[in-house]
Symmetry: C2
Subunit: 389 residues, 2 copies
């Protein structure tokens, strides 16, 4: 074959559903010289990462580690470690990622009871109670931030409900961690996973997970071996813990990058960072509304890091995305699953949640829609600027 040339990708502005823009210092950390996975210098990096992850998850859980795969590997890690064949699982489904949780649980030979809700809306705890009936469960699973629909789930009352039913509460925080308030311990969450490429502003490739003491006990007393050797937290924990037993070769450079990403988050401060995500999202929402576009998720359930926008009638949505990419090097996302072709997904995540990006996105989208005959109702930039004023 002809050997391809070295890569020189054009930098993009990443306002899709992730990956998000990666700050320069994180890319530089990624390119630090690789060192060994048992080098004392690297073991110190691991300890830093665990401590910082606990701060970001707001937990004291010792079992808080990044698993060596993308966000979906974190979902699978929690499932395979906590489930045994025949276990009963109650899963909230109001989008692609709840659907995925149910699918992964079934592949662990669990018995899944689904709590179906409207896509684009949060779920109602009462629907969980109705679906549960008088049954007890091993896990209650819910998505905190549905990346496919842009709905944010209020988790009030979920841990009490789960624990009453003998279950652990497992939460998908892939698109929420680092972008909206998340309180693992205060909210009584037993298992959580996230991804690095959303509000943590790191490239994709790692999935931070954390297990509560009760979840660790569940893992310790299981009868069947964990069906995945690669994701077995009892083995992974011996490498991340004081034993330092080799399990698999850690993705060294990705962990350098995560170290820098967590540092930047703690330097900014979680509260400041959450407010930044909210303010920029409100500016985007104001601008999109001024353009005459519909945001299907009600304001109180809307997720600041990811906004879903209905494609107006008569607009070729893929052509709009292609034009933004070509003319502005600006990426926004299309719809996922049943929402494909019907919505756009605009991410304002991590480093990418800033005034420059919102302004560019509104201006570029206005122009692209105008090219297809759709005229803005009011001035989108004025509406956004009023939020920042």
């Amino acid at each position: 074959m002809t050997i391809p040339a070295a890569l020189t990708p054009k930098p993009r502005v990443l306002l899709g559903p992730g990956p998000s823009d990666v700050p320069h210092s994180i890319l530089q950390a990624l390119a630090l010289p690789t060192i060994g996975h048992l080098d004392p210098a690297f073991l110190a990096v691991m300890d830093d990462i665990r401590a910082m992850l606990r701060d970001v998850f707001k937990t004291g859980n010792p079992t808080t580690v990044p698993t060596s795969g993308t966000g979906s590997s974190g979902m699978e890690t929690c499932m395979v470690n906590l489930l045994e064949p025949g276990d009963r699982v109650l899963v909230g489904i109001n989008g692609v990622f709840g659907t995925r949780m149910a699918e992964v649980a079934r592949r662990c030979s669990a018995s899944v009871t689904a709590v179906e809700g409207a896509w684009g809306r949060a779920l109602d705890l009462n629907d969980f109670k109705k679906a549960a009936g008088a049954s007890r469960f091993k896990l209650v699973c819910v998505v905190h931030a549905e990346t496919s629909t842009g709905a944010l789930q209020n988790l009030d009352g979920f841990s009490g409900f789960a624990h009453d039913r003998g279950a652990l509460l497992m939460v998908d925080a892939v698109t929420s961690l680092g972008g909206v308030p998340f309180e693992m311990d205060a909210w009584g969450i037993d298992a959580v996973y996230s991804g690095t490429q959303k509000c943590l502003a790191c490239p994709p490739g790692l999935s931070p997970v954390s297990l509560s003491e009760n979840a660790v006990t569940t893992l310790q007393v299981r009868n069947a071996p964990v069906q995945s050797w690669y994701l077995d937290l009892s083995l992974i924990g011996q490498y991340w813990g004081t034993e330092r037993v080799y399990h698999h070769t850690a993705p060294i450079n990705m962990l350098f990058a995560l170290h820098e990403a967590l540092r930047l988050i703690l330097e900014e401060g979680l509260d400041v960072r959450h407010r930044r995500h909210r303010t920029n999202a409100e500016a985007l929402w104001a601008g999109l509304t001024a353009m005459g576009l519909t945001l299907p998720v009600p304001d109180a359930e809307r997720l600041p890091p990811l906004t879903v926008v209905q494609v107006p009638d008569g607009i070729d949505e893929a052509a709009v995305r292609a034009q933004l990419l070509k003319e502005y090097n600006l990426e926004i996302g299309g719809g996922l699953g049943p929402m494909q072709g019907k919505v756009w997904r605009i991410g304002l995540m991590g480093h990418g949640s800033n005034r420059k990006n919102v302004t560019l996105c509104l201006a570029a989208l206005t122009a692209a829609l105008r090219a297809q005959g759709h005229t803005a109702k009011d001035d989108p930039l004025a509406a956004a600027n009023a939020v920042w004023a």
Copy 2:
């Protein structure tokens, strides 16, 4: 907590069992600006990677992709996709990684028959035949390069044997690919996995795998779903194939790095690269032998990318490694599993296999052993130089 300082790890010379030294241009590729996993520019990168991986594996298999995890995830990928509960598997065990293959197969609810061989030696095909008896199997598994012992397996006759028993032949090429000749199609291999952090000279985090047409058919006709959603090649294949269906967010920057690593391999040429690994290993072997050290693997079965050295009586092996790291920033590996404390493992992999590294390693090891009272028998550097002459 106190926020840790930004990382400034000391560059090491990585002569352990992996990760190996990463060339500058690969680290630079890793730090290229992150782009989206469905960006047309990224889809072109994926196509390049698949084509180059096929050249490096010496295969025409369409199902040739890097999985989003380290080498062990590749092992698990092959197992979970090809095995169903109750399937019979024949596994050669002469080190840690054969042991791991058997363990992963058991976690897939397979019935494992082990072919045990001496650690530090290659396995004998006749022992596979004896262990198999008259039985048929779903998989025959063998490690091409045992990273724990430094033994290289001659694969002659294995595919004929496996296919006669109705089995697919699955091979671990984690430490061989890119360092010693490997011919997937010519050798009749049905499933193979490797890792990026050995002879491919890329940071750890990806595991290239390839499946033959027969292996793909086995996957297509299975009854039970693949127990891992994350590693399900029928879903992953829809993203890497022409359909481009989103499965999980690809580890973009790691794939940029792999693209550059494969480019460098093909630019050097596989034959030249294999000869380079062999020559530098022979120089190392000559130098170690001149020092009076014992290499337990017989010459004909010795793996050029990874040399196992017996620790002389009375030497504190961990102190030697600590001294090399402290005084020379030089990493060599300790023993794994039952060989812990008894051997060192010296890797000459990928970019790290060069005259400078061999010379430094011999000089530094001579000095560290002398500090513990062990005097070299002959001149190690003269012995190594004679090989290069």
